[in-house]
Every structure is written in structure tokens, then in C-alpha cells.
Symmetry: C2
Subunit: 363 residues, 2 copies
């Protein structure tokens, strides 16, 4: 149902971005990049959570020197986040990173930018222009913020284009959701480079995930966005699960458990909340896409959760197991959870057999 | 920035809905409605969390008979949720409820509907038509679900309009976000009645809040929606805080703490995550709107969080307190939290004094 913007394709270490590729989920490490073991440990954990690209901060030359060791062992592409210092950018490219986040307008001398761009081009290392509403160049304060953000980004883009470099991604982040949305909309009219989406400083998982879901949801529903990062003040793995929930809600990605569960109401006669949480907990690490329903009403449950691959509903001590809206078995309430988990295991195994036969893996 | 749809105004027990009124936040009790004390207890707690209207399920006549006692003591308007049985609707209106959720097409005989509508009109009790994708009438299975939902709702609406009743709200809920969004968009072209928004069976707070934020966020950003309910399998108070976060993200409501905090990164040198969580915990019950920033970088923090009423940033044992982007004090890191909370108290007190002078309270 979503018609995606036709953006120019590029690759970050083999991961396709833009040009109709599935929306890519990214995060950023919050370890000290100079600490190779800690950083690699976090990247490995991010990878396990489903993160496809990891960005690392490179604040000084020691951090830059840690990049080859990180890159060599990393299970996913690594992007170096660099401010101002072109020597760090050169060292990062030399160190084998798969992408840079760098605003060339912040590098003092044109020949320094040219040196970075030459190396990036030689090694096909894309550069993300990342403009944040909070750190716009002075001047033009009378113009609306989204317009100032776009103009700042276009300035950086022009520097790269003048050097014949077009492996460009663009991000335009703000804390304010309407500002962010407007900035990307304006930018979509100006360039065809792929967009990296994010809401900056969104807050803790409790509130920042909601703010990110609103902002990224609006943009993704309009077809904008080729790669996303949910910025949360918390465990980077939280960012990944929120990112996938946003994408799953819009049918843009499919991964692991999608839980359909009704809010219990005055009609509910089983411990629905406890049941839903136990199901979620048991199936949290599932990777294969599956829709599971936990409903409080035997009469309406199967119909209302018709899209579920498998579901349970209960009331007054009795429960049912249903598949795609059809009741397959009745049982005592106490057996519902284990019956459901058995069925999920069977569906997952069947999917894997199917895959082995067709030779098609998940992307 | 959001241009809201011009919907017809109505009132639920004094709370204005539609016609440009602020988006109203609702929830539904999950207690047994026949248990007056439990239900009232939950409504009171919902009210304290910021819920403006409470819906209660009325599955049988005993529940309907509990309504007068609930309604008499409830601090917020009460809506009765009724299926099929017109006698329950009559008893609910008789019992003083402020609104009904009722699909007249599901009541067998026309004169029974007419009896309900007569009482509702006499007492100015609005009726919400609530169509769910999971329980659509049979037939038309070849048409797209959003269209079927709209047609079902229009059928119910027509019954009320034929009886000269127009105190109508409409909801069109589905688990699938694109389906829900499309249904409301189609409906907006057909009627001007106010919309109650929701995503059904969205799941637990962990995932359902994201799904709701995406779905309601898209619709609200388009100006659709006069009242919302976030349906979660969990504590109804969770629904309220998620609802306000969605509205705050779009600038549609202002309430309590808005926390601006950066994801910590490899450059961060203070315990940002811990600090952000402690600030959030301390200020969670705040009602007066205030924007607070917790940033990991003394250099960029104040500028990036310029919109914050008050903020802190730290690194290498030292920290700063800033207001609207301007640094007001430097201090040891250990003093940051208490200095921030003192400033928040002062801002809240100043706001209250201001209010006392102007005589303007918050709506």
C-alpha cells in the first residue's frame, strides 16, 4: 500500500540502501570506540538483535586507529561518525570502514575535503550528510527551521557533487517531529539521494520510542526513508526492536513475533494480560515472522484475529486454539499457553523445511 | 503546522469533542463493571493519569444496573459499551451515562433502535458507531477491507440519521495500520462527524504502543481524529501516557514532562542513561508542561537542546545547567540532578504564580 520514493541505490558494505531495497535498520554504539573489545561486543549484540549497520563515534585519532580491528571482526558493516577533522576521515577509510557520516562543509579547507572524497570514491565508501536542527550554521534565523536544515544539507551535498562524488545519503534530524517531517518532505523535492531517517534526542525508551514511531511512521507511510535509526537514551538493542516494530506496523519489514492481543475489558474472564506477556516473553527471540493472537473472548477472538497464523482465546476456564480464524481445538485454560507454543514451534519448523526445499533463505 | 479536519462538535458529559477542540484522551476499564468499587477505583486512577473519558463494558443487565452508582461518583464522563441488546442501552441512558458506543445495525428491530435513539436525543447522549475490521458483516468479501469498514459504518450512521439523530462519533479500527489509516481517510470524504481513533488488539505496551503511535500519528498528522484511545493489553494508565506522548510529539497537546535526551555515544563521558532515567522518574507525575534536556556533551548540548526550558549536560566530572540554550551555571557532575530538579520546581512555581495573577488555569 505504501509507494516508496524512487531513491538512488547505494551499498554500505554489501547492504543495499535505496532504490527500492527493504528499509535498513541501523544503530550506533555507545561504547568508547578506542575500547575495541567493548565496541565489538556491542556490535555483536546489536547484530543478534537484528541491527544491519553499526555506526561508531570517531572523536580522535586513537578511536580511528581502533577501526581496523573493529571492522575486521564486525559481523555487520561499520560506519564512522566524524566531525570536522579530515585526518580522522582519511584514517577511517584507510581502516576499512564501509561508510562515513561527515559534513564536508565543516572541514576547513577544500583540498582536505578533496583528499577525503578521493579516498572515499576509490573505495566506494558512501558519505552520509547529517544535518541536525540543533546545530545549524548561523544566519537565516528568520527562515523556518526545516528550510534552514534543507539548505544546510544542500550546501554539503554541493561540495561533494562539485568533486564528482554521488555516493550520498542524507539525514535531517530534529527533536520536533513536525520539523523533521517537513524537512524530509522538502528535501524529497530537491534530491534523489537515499534518506536516513531519525528523530534526535528523542528521550528514553518509554517516551522516545513513541516520538520516533510517530515521526518515522509518518515519513515511512509517505514512502520516504531508506534506512532508519531510532535514537534512544538506553540500550542500543532497544532501538532495534522499536525500529522493527515501526516497520512491521507499516508492512515494510517482517521479523519475528507480531502479537495481536486485545486490551482486556469488563467482559474478559481470563488473565489476558499475564497470558499475553508470557507469550511475548517466550517468543521474543523468534526471528521468523509469525503472527500470534492472544484474545479474551472465545466468541469474537478468532474472527477479530483472523490474520493471526495461530492464536488462543479463553473465558470461564476454557479456551480455544485457532488458526487463520478457524477453531482447531478446545481445551482447559491452563493448557492454552503450552498448546500455543507447541503450535508455534511446529509452524517455525514447517517454515524451515519449506525453505530447505525451495533453497530460499530469508534476506 | 497540522491543519485539523473540520468535524462537527459534540460534547460527552461536558468534554468538547470535534469542531477544533483539543484531541481528547480516552480509555476503557478492564474491571468487571458489576463491581462498582473496582470500576470506580480504576476510573479514579485513570483520571489521575490524565484520562478524560472512561468507557465501561456493559455485557449484561447487572452491569447496566451498576452504571448509576459508577456515574454518580466518577470524576470524568462515562461511556457505556453495548452490543446487540437495546435494553442495556436504555438502562445505560436511564442510568445517566454520558455516551454510548453502540452499532444500531446490530439491534434486531427498528422500533428498538428508535426507542434508544429517542432517549439518547432527549438527554443529549452521543452515540459512537464503532466498526472493527475483525467483525465486519458477511458479504462483499471481494472489496478491500477499508471500503467494507466504511460501508458498514455508513449503514449504521444512516439508521441514526433516518431517526433524525446526529450526535454521532465514528471509529474504524483494525489491527493493521495501513487498513486503519485508509478507512479513516475514506470516511473523511464521506461524513463530517468527529472521529474516535484507535488501533485494535495492538498488543502489549512494548509493541502495541509503537503500533498505535505509528497509526494514530499518521492520522493525527493529517488532521484526522478528535478523540483517541490507545488499546494496550496492560494497565489502562499505560494507555494514557502513550496517548499523551503521541499527541505531544505532534504538538497537539501539552502535558507534563517532555524529555529531550541524546542517545549516549562513544563521545559521552557521563552516565547519561542513568541520569535521564532518574530525571524521568522524578518528574513523571508532573502535570504542567515543561521541556527538560539531559545531554551528554557540554559543547553541543545547550545548542542542540535549545528548545528545552531547562537542561543539563555533562562530561569528565563537570556539568552545566542551561536554559533555552544559554548556560547559567557550571558545577560538579554529582550536583547536576539536584540542581536541575530545583530549577524545575522554581519554573513550576513561577508558572503557578503567573496563573494565579492572570486567573488562567490549564484546560
Amino acid at each position: 500500500m505504501i509507494r516508496r520514493r524512487a531513491s538512488r541505490p547505494l551499498q554500505i558494505g554489501g547492504v543495499p540502501i535505496g532504490g527500492g531495497a527493504p528499509v535498513v535498520v541501523q544503530s550506533m554504539t555507545n561504547t568508547d570506540t578506542r575500547d575495541v573489545e567493548a565496541t565489538l561486543g556491542q556490535i555483536r549484540r546489536l547484530h543478534e538483535c537484528g541491527c544491519q549497520i553499526a555506526r561508531v563515534a570517531v572523536p580522535d585519532i586513537k578511536a580511528a586507529r581502533a577501526l581496523p580491528s573493529i571492522k575486521n571482526e564486525s559481523p555487520i558493516p561499520v560506519v564512522a561518525d566524524i566531525h570536522f577533522d579530515y585526518r580522522l576521515a582519511l584514517a577511517a577509510i584507510e581502516g576499512g570502514v564501509d561508510g562515513l557520516r561527515l559534513n564536508p562543509g565543516n572541514i576547513r579547507r577544500r583540498e582536505q575535503v578533496a583528499a577525503v572524497v578521493k579516498e572515499a570514491r576509490d573505495r566506494s565508501v558512501p558519505i552520509r550528510i547529517g544535518v541536525n536542527a540543533g546545530s545549524l550554521p548561523p544566519g537565516n534565523e528568520d527562515k523556518p527551521t526545516p528550510q534552514r536544515m534543507v539548505e544546510a544539507a544542500l550546501g554539503h551535498i554541493r561540495i561533494l557533487e562539485d568533486l564528482d562524488f554521488d555516493l550520498i545519503k542524507v539525514s535531517l534530524k530534529a527533536f520536533d517531529v513536525p520539523t523533521t517531517v517537513e524537512a524530509y518532505r522538502l528535501m524529497a523535492e530537491r534530491v534523489s539521494y537515499p534518506f536516513h531517517l531519525g528523530i534526535t534526542e528523542a528521550g528514553t525508551p518509554r517516551t522516545g520510542s513513541i516520538r520516533s514511531a510517530v515521526g518515522l511512521g509518518i515519513l515511512l507511510a509517505e514512502g520516504l526513508g531508506d534506512t532508519i535509526r531510532v535514537s534512544l537514551t538506553g540500550d542500543p538493542c532497544d532501538e532495534i526492536s522499536v525500529a522493527y516494530e515501526i516497520l512491521k506496523a507499516l508492512g515494510l519489514r517482517d521479523k519475528g513475533l507480531t502479537l495481536i492481543s486485545c486490551p482486556s475489558c469488563g467482559r474478559t474472564e481470563i488473565d489476558l494480560i499475564g497470558l499475553a506477556h508470557r507469550v511475548e516473553e517466550k517468543l521474543l527471540t523468534l526471528d521468523r515472522p509469525i503472527k500470534v493472537a492472544v484474545m479474551g473472548c472465545v466468541v469474537n477472538g478468532p474472527g477479530e484475529a483472523r490474520e493471526a497464523d495461530i492464536g488462543i482465546a479463553g473465558g470461564r476456564g476454557k479456551g480455544i486454539l485457532f488458526r487463520k480464524g478457524e477453531v482447531i481445538r478446545t481445551m482447559p485454560e491452563a493448557e492454552l499457553l503450552s498448546a500455543l507454543l507447541t503450535e508455534v514451534d511446529a509452524l517455525v519448523a514447517a517454515g524451515e523445511r519449506q525453505e530447505a526445499v525451495t533453497g530460499l533463505g530469508e534476506s
